[in-house]
């Protein structure tokens, strides 16, 4: 068993694609129209083995869950980075908003930003 896909729920797929590619530096891999929405994935530029699905938020109860997480500042998911401080500076310059600045937690350093599509995303350096 292997993990090939994971997903984030987004309120607008086009806006999400723009943020995840232009701000975060991911690369679009799949874009297949499926009626109102599309099967849209991005991958890391270093490796396309694991895809991140930018999944449309179309289910009302899930919106409540997403909103509660967002308001509490809790990250929906986390991405690994080599250097949180460096990434933080670069993203700040691109206008990304952080709710948690780089913080050391023992062996881990983390920070949390707003993906502008309804989610907090954590970056982690281990």
């Amino acid at each position: 068993m292997r993990i090939r896909l994971t997903s984030v729920l987004v309120d607008d797929q086009d806006k999400a694609l723009q943020f995840y590619t232009e701000k975060l530096g991911f690369v679009k891999k799949t874009d297949i129209p499926l009626g109102e929405h599309k099967w849209l994935t991005v991958v890391s530029p270093e490796s396309d083995e694991i895809e991140l699905v930018l999944e449309p938020m179309g289910f009302e109860p899930a919106k409540t869950y997403q909103k509660a997480l967002f308001e509490a500042g809790i990250p929906l998911t986390a991405f690994h980075v080599e250097d949180v401080h460096k990434e933080y500076e670069q993203l700040l310059k691109k206008g990304v908003e952080f709710s948690l600045k780089p913080t050391n937690m023992g062996a881990v350093t983390l920070a949390v930003f707003n993906d502008t599509c309804g989610n907090n995303i954590q970056i982690v350096q281990v």
Partner: protein, 164 residues
């Protein structure tokens, strides 16, 4: 301040009161990650970072569940597995991960993985581009039918030649 931020601060205060020491242990770990292929003097690292080697080892183990030496060995073995899988020879791999003796590398590798490097190669070496993946995650064809047929023919001929 968000609920999550508050929570992080509380955990940090309770579990990691001495940030400086933890930071030093993390830096030591990152140093090992980067220089695993060199002669790393762990005594020197601990001297620079802490008052005592014993304290350094204890702190390092409390974070990474391994002593610095055990951690260095595990990094070297993981790198060796990647090198062997990617087609490097055993002697090349031995040198690339900072070992001078093939005998001690072989012995350590067997202890860590259960395989000698040669047996590991037989079992796990990746065959380059043997089986392409013409489908995306939804199962749609990414390549047209003629491309797919060409790929499968190429794959089959490689498999045949490998079996001979």
């Amino acid at each position: 301040m968000t609920y999550y931020h508050q929570h992080i601060i509380e955990i940090r205060k309770a579990l990691y009161p001495n940030e400086y020491l933890y930071r030093q242990a993390v830096l030591a770990k990152l140093f090992i990650d980067k220089h695993y292929n060199h002669d790393i003097n762990l005594d020197e690292i601990s001297d620079k970072a802490f008052f005592s080697k014993f304290h350094f080892i204890r702190l390092f183990r409390s974070i990474y569940y391994k002593t610095p030496y055990q951690y260095l060995t595990s990094v070297r073995i993981e790198k060796a597995k990647l090198f062997l899988q990617s087609g490097k020879s055993i002697s090349e791999t031995c040198s690339l991960i900072g070992f001078r003796s093939i005998t001690s590398f072989t012995s350590l590798f067997r202890k860590a993985t259960g395989y000698t490097p040669a047996n590991f190669v037989k079992k796990y070496r990746k065959l380059p581009e043997l089986i392409p993946f013409p489908y995306n995650s939804l199962g749609y064809l990414q390549k047209n039918q003629s491309q797919k047929t060409a790929i499968l023919k190429k794959t089959n001929s490689r498999v045949c030649s490998l079996n001979q």
